[in-house]
Symmetry: C2
Subunit: 267 residues, 2 copies
């Protein structure tokens, strides 16, 4: 009985039906307006959404899927879905992204913020926890038909408040590229400095000098040479040395912008 009641509730919540009923000990029990009761008691659905970013063809792009059904049919929205009972928000977004992107391809996932305007989606009230996800540039996941990459600077018609989430993700990435080693999550395991320069330029939106990039990252101990070299291009040129990031996880390298504790030389 409990299962059929659950089914009723979830059909009602997804607004597929106006009311639902089920049988119980000979009675036919009809449920309606469960949404309304939930709303009155402050009960709200919770979803997780991710802006998954990758540098593709020289620009920072985000993974979107096109809605086939109302509301906002035809518009593009972020991957994600309902939070389930036995998972926290990060486990939830990783599970839901697994349908779009192989989990191993997600080099970094972090919380952005909660989006909770009461009318952010039509119908039942839904609070969203938004995430930033990063995919290294050497991956090209197989995507479902309704899903594709779009440049962050040229988004299609987006659904709900998803554009704001994408912009928030881009800004977070840009900030953290400066004071952490987050570049590791955009780059392949081995890369040339000029390839890395392309990634940083695309993500930051301005030209980054390869010279200074290498210097800054090396000085901080984030970069180490692998000993290998990449072959030169068709027009010649010195073969480029290959590097890798020394750490696999995120590290804050520049914690004190100013007002550092006495005696601490910067990093």
């Amino acid at each position: 009985m409990r299962d059929s009641a659950s089914r009723c509730l979830s059909r009602l919540r997804s607004r597929r039906v106006p009311a639902a009923s089920f049988r119980f000990r000979g009675f036919r029990l009809r449920i309606e307006n469960v949404v309304d009761i939930n709303t009155r008691t402050g009960q709200a659905g919770h979803e997780v959404l991710a802006a998954v970013l990758q540098v593709r063809q020289g620009s920072l792009q985000v993974l979107l899927w096109q809605r086939a059904l109302a509301p906002h049919s035809g518009r593009w929205s972020l991957p994600g879905g309902r939070l389930c009972a036995d998972e926290d928000v990060e486990a939830s977004i990783r599970r839901q992204l697994a349908e779009k992107v192989d989990v191993r391809q997600l080099a970094h996932v972090e919380q952005l913020a909660v989006f909770s305007a009461p009318d952010r989606v039509p119908g039942e009230r839904v609070v969203a926890t938004a995430f930033l996800g990063l995919v290294p540039c050497d991956n090209d996941p197989e995507l479902p038909n309704d899903t594709s990459w779009y440049p962050v600077e040229a988004l299609p018609d987006t659904a709900f408040d998803h554009e704001a989430i994408v912009l928030r993700a881009r800004n977070r990435l840009r900030a953290k590229l400066s004071y952490t080693n987050l570049g590791f999550a955009l780059a392949a395991p081995e890369f040339t400095v000029s390839a890395l320069r392309e990634l940083y330029s695309a993500a930051l939106g301005y030209r980054v000098s390869a010279t200074n990039l290498q210097r800054v990252l090396s000085r901080r101990g984030l970069l180490e040479p692998t000993g290998h070299t990449a072959p030169p291009g068709p027009s010649g040129g010195r073969p480029a040395a290959l590097f890798r990031f020394t750490a696999g996880g995120i590290l804050v390298t520049d914690p004190f912008a100013v007002l550092r504790p006495p005696g601490s030389a910067r990093a």
Copy 2:
């Protein structure tokens, strides 16, 4: 009828009773296990919590209230409560804090993160959006009997995951003092540089030099003299000039730690 049903639901949800019933057209309807159904459908309660910080008596302190009832009776927890239907999370935390602190005394409120471990609180699953709140040091709000300030470095027995939230709030404040003007939310409208130094020292946990503090904040255009002076102490000394922050809201003053756009002198 809907109202009595709502009341039943909310009594059940708060775990005050194991079951509740109400009358409807001559029938006595009994509700139980509503929590269980909600859990199975992924429905979760949502609460907002704030670590409200203030520098008091030379140390960074946080506002806590002592739980009188189970669960975690006697332990100290953060102010907050359920998200209501017509408000977003920030409006909600401001409303709930108004019962403890006059809203005008809250100089700054910002989201920290979502805490969502399925077992973070016993009973019904509750997802929490955590906030940082800051109260300038010239306010001393009247507090309810069960509520008081505790130094962040010497917390009492805390409930649930609230200690982690307090530490997260402290770390956020420390970081933002470095690269924003967030000091305005700790300071009185007018202050001497040495008073400001005390605030920064307490918040950061290490001795800050008044000389450099004034220099850094002035160079960034965050501080301006009011023209007034404070009288010297009983043992004499030169009277201190009074300053104020030029901006009332938060400003990021040091956006690029490194890899700044070409040609941009820092700030």
